[in-house]
């Protein structure tokens, strides 16, 4: 074998292996999509067909018309958008404060944020429940949103901070000599430079809140105020639900994940990496 063909062979091997490895990673997602989009007869065919051909929107339509999933879809979208926006604003201010200012409590603040970042939600859910009932915030979106912000903010602060820190000090000094106040450097310099970071943390925060199950499941009592993941889990426990209904509902919860995976790849990888390494 010549050296050249050996090289080619190796390249092919690596790429082939990568394709093979993708199969177990993507199969559960494929199977969810395929199962949810089948007709009531073909979903329970034995043995199940790996590549079925009679697709139908029967179950997807059914979860919307019969089980009113549209309402919960709206709840989830509204809450996630609102909470993500608040989280980003608060986190940007904090990260900006840490990068651009010097004051005594600075390190304490930053350390406490890092410390809180480690907290698993289950650990504090009982205390939060107590607090929320004391403040009469139980069963309100207000209370739920506050919790979302508190849990998603720490990683957001860290990500924004690491993007802000890449801005050269000279640029800020130059801007201040030109008469820009310190506060104005945030919208004029910091945010424009850190726009990819903002997009990445925005997406990660949105997904974190969208996927969150525990907080809403504990703090919201009225069924019509619940978010999508909570109601889907609830569907799965009901006796009158068919497998197809449950799967179609699970598919609807995944929609934003699919959208981000398709259209915001770049930011996603950036956001995840920041989160993984900083964490």
């Amino acid at each position: 074998m010549t050296k050249n063909s050996k090289e080619k062979c190796r390249t092919f091997g690596v790429n082939f292996l990568a394709v093979i490895v993708m199969i177990p990673i993507l199969f559960p997602i494929y199977w969810l999509v395929v199962s949810a989009l089948q007709s009531p007869q073909s979903i329970i065919s034995i043995p199940p067909k790996l590549f079925p051909h009679d697709f139908s929107l029967y179950f997807v339509k059914k979860v919307f018309s019969e089980f009113g999933i549209g309402q919960f879809l709206f709840n989830s979208i509204f809450l996630s958008v609102m909470a993500t926006f608040c989280t980003l604003v608060i986190a940007c201010l904090a990260a900006f404060s840490y990068t651009a200012y010097r004051y005594r409590m600075r390190e304490t603040f930053s350390k406490s944020i890092l410390f809180v970042h480690m907290f698993p939600q289950i650990l504090i859910i009982i205390p939060i429940y107590l607090l929320m009932s004391k403040l009469h915030l139980i069963n309100t979106w207000m209370g739920l949103t506050l919790c979302y912000i508190a849990f998603e903010m720490p990683i957001c602060v860290w990500t924004m901070q690491s993007y802000f820190e890449t801005i050269p000090k000279d640029l800020i000094d130059a801007a201040e000599i030109d008469g820009l106040t310190r506060l104005k450097t945030l919208p004029k310099i910091f945010l424009p430079v850190a726009l990819p970071g903002l997009a990445a943390s925005g997406i990660m925060t949105f997904i974190g809140i969208w996927n969150n199950f525990l907080l809403c499941n504990t703090l919201i009592i009225d069924a019509d105020k619940k978010t999508l993941p909570v109601i889907v889990a609830d569907f799965a426990g009901r006796d009158n639900m068919l497998q197809g209904d449950v799967l179609a509902a699970s598919l609807v919860v995944c929609i934003p994940s699919f959208l981000f995976a398709l259209f915001a790849q770049r930011y996603l990888v950036g956001g995840l990496t920041q989160g993984a390494v900083k964490a």
């Binding site: 201010l93 404060s97 200012y101 944020i113 480690m118 997904i207 889990a233 994940s257």
Partner: protein, 306 residues
């Protein structure tokens, strides 16, 4: 005299700037305090009472909540299950993540971004959906994986995975590995990209094998990254509630009742919030031990990278 004035004005400006910075950080700190730190302190107080929403007169019961929980064999059994769940999940996630990172960082690989993008999608899927997909794939009547296993000849006939204690735990761990490996992968990829290519070049010139350069270059340089996020992943996986809850609700017969599921059931099934608070505090103390290790590891990492 004029110079002195300037100096004073400079000081005043510095001070004002400091206050401004402080105020900008304040909303973040206030929310954290209100939602996380204050409830913890409140729970600490509550854990010494027999508080229940329905009971009028709350009395102080000292350490009896703690004693009750620490002497409950179910609690220790749940801790054991959590430990098993965490260690098996994390070990396999690390091994798979490392292997995958090596592959996806391979110089000969085409369309790197595409593969990386695809590989992280499991992490984006909501836990609730993950739980339901895996339950469906291993369904005793229609589960596709059951039929595949029969086809390959591993099983004689479809098996009811979710009704056996050990097999239910197996599916739980499997689902968690599938879901968590992408995060490990991104972490390792970031770490790998930080290793200068010259090192490998030099090793190759010296005639080192791929395995040797993995052991002597990749592994030691990745270790700090692994340590820091490993501790954090450990804490989170140990306290992972959503997946077991949606998948099995702790069943069958408590076989998948990990510590968080136990804590949740105990606090909310009968609303014994005094006892629930005591569990939170116990878990918090466990967390502090890990936090200590985490900050140690982080210091070590920072030292290496600077």
């Amino acid at each position: 005299m004029k110079k002195r004035d300037d100096l004073n004005r400079g000081h005043a400006l510095e001070k004002r700037m400091g206050v401004q910075g402080f105020l900008l950080y304040l909303p973040a700190v206030l929310i954290i305090f209100l939602i996380i730190l204050y409830p913890l302190i409140y729970a600490l107080c509550m854990s010494f009472t027999n508080y229940r929403p329905t009971v009028r007169n709350v009395s102080i019961v000292g350490f009896s909540n703690y004693a009750k929980i620490l002497s409950d064999s179910d609690f220790w059994a749940a801790m054991g299950r959590s430990l098993f769940f965490t260690i098996t999940s994390l070990t396999l996630q690390i091994i798979l993540g490392l292997a995958l990172a090596q592959l996806l960082n391979h110089p000969r690989l085409k369309c790197k971004m595409l593969f990386r993008g695809l590989a992280i999608t499991p992490w984006l899927i909501p836990t609730v959906s993950v739980a339901l997909i895996f339950k469906w794939m291993f369904n005793d009547l229609y589960g596709i994986l059951n039929f595949m296993l029969v086809d390959i000849g591993i099983l004689d006939k479809p098996y009811a995975w979710m009704s056996g204690g050990k097999t239910a735990m197996f599916i739980l761990v499997l689902a968690n590995i599938w879901r968590g490996t992408p995060l490990m992968l991104t972490m390792f990829l970031a770490g790998l990209q930080g290793i200068p290519g010259d090192y490998y070049e030099a090793a190759r010139v010296d005639g080192a094998s791929a395995w040797y350069s993995f052991r002597k270059i990749t592994f030691p340089l990745l270790l700090p990254v692994v340590m820091v996020s490993g501790v954090l992943r450990f804490i989170w996986t140990f306290n992972f509630y959503d997946l077991p809850w949606v998948m099995t609700q702790g069943g069958p017969a408590d076989a998948t009742t990990t510590t968080p599921v136990y804590a949740y059931k105990r606090a909310f099934s009968s609303y014994r919030l005094g006892e629930g608070s005591a569990i939170s505090i116990i878990l918090f103390i466990v967390l502090l031990v890990f936090a200590f290790i985490y900050f140690r590891a982080k210091k070590y990492q920072d030292k290496i990278y600077k």
